[in-house]
Symmetry: C2
Subunit: 203 residues, 2 copies
Amino acid sequence: MSLKHAILGFLSFSPAPMSGYDLKKAFDHSVRHFWPANQSQIYRTLAALTDEGLVAVDVVEREERLDMKLYQITDNGRTELHRWLSTPLPPQDCREPLLIQVFFGHNLTDTELLAVLQHEAQAIEERLALYAQIYTASLEMFNQEHGFDPRTLFLRLLTLEFGMISNQAGLDWLRAGITRLQAGDYTPAELHTLLGGNQEDNE
Amino acid sequence: MSLKHAILGFLSFSPAPMSGYDLKKAFDHSVRHFWPANQSQIYRTLAALTDEGLVAVDVVEREERLDMKLYQITDNGRTELHRWLSTPLPPQDCREPLLIQVFFGHNLTDTELLAVLQHEAQAIEERLALYAQIYTASLEMFNQEHGFDPRTLFLRLLTLEFGMISNQAGLDWLRAGITRLQAGDYTPAELHTLLGGNQEDNE
DNA sequence: AGATACTATAGTACAAGTGCTATATATTGA
DNA sequence: TCAATATATAGCACTTGTACTATAGTATCT
């Protein structure tokens, strides 16, 4: 389960032990663009990780208030994290409900279909704007934080780059589709226009 | 649930009623690149759709052999399908386990990280080759099948185009990342190189 | 001063969707 | 004879999501 390893990742990176609450914030601030996690999921997974001995809990009792549980990664946890990080993933299959709408879109009028596509295009534009904002904000933040390993920063920004590049590709696709639909131009695209994007010979 | 509507889509398109087995084949042949479905899931969902009155069953009894159930979409089913197809989807959030590996990749050596990335690049290349193959095959098949509505064909091919474009974008991203890692070049990308892909003014 | 809302903190219960595996049995093809 | 195709279903487990329950401090608004 990837969520387990994301949690291990945060714990392995953090110098101080973290509570479930801390982790929830960490997820929301830094990885929600590719791995959203909700509260209960995090607490459940922490419990499971504890059972498996991959993290260790320190229960901080506080008079009157609820206990606070602080989690640390164990040696076994680090080993498992390293194993998972360095193991290629099994092929993922994608799920794009929008494509179901397109595939069966012959049931709709042009107007109806265009409305759906344009709505989606707008949603992507908003997401792109948000990503761009987070990207520059991260850059600034890390510029100030002296001593932050540049390779670590690079890798984190790379995940944002992915979000932008792939959303931009989706937006390009949508726009081209919209244009063709509006023009009633149903000639299929040539293969070579679809493939071999930014060739930067890498072999 | 999108699967329900994909099934309704197939049933609404097919001139003849379909069995669960037929549907499984239809999924595998035409939409598995954006909505894979396994057998038990299809049968379960057909049962649910029947309960909801969106499809109607015709049980064909066959001596000796198991019964065969043939499904047809009902009027309610068509209405529901149309409603769903023409309603914009709530925002989807993406889940990319590879990005977890990248995000926490500072735990790995360059060699380890590169191995993971290159493995993924190769998987994407294979997928792209497969898509290209399916794309040309579909084109040929539909060229022969006279009387196939060109708009319908266009929309179906569009879903394949999406698969190719977005995988190509992912591949470009991977290659650029690999190159930068190999060169030890950790300077973040400029925003404008990430956004505003194929501008084809559409407003 | 009092009401209201938000943050910090941890959980529980339940449902939906998916995946994997196994069970049947008949026909057809190699 | 062995394998594949046609056909339907049941059971269990995993992951995620949604909503609800608690409680104490802090901040804000009137």
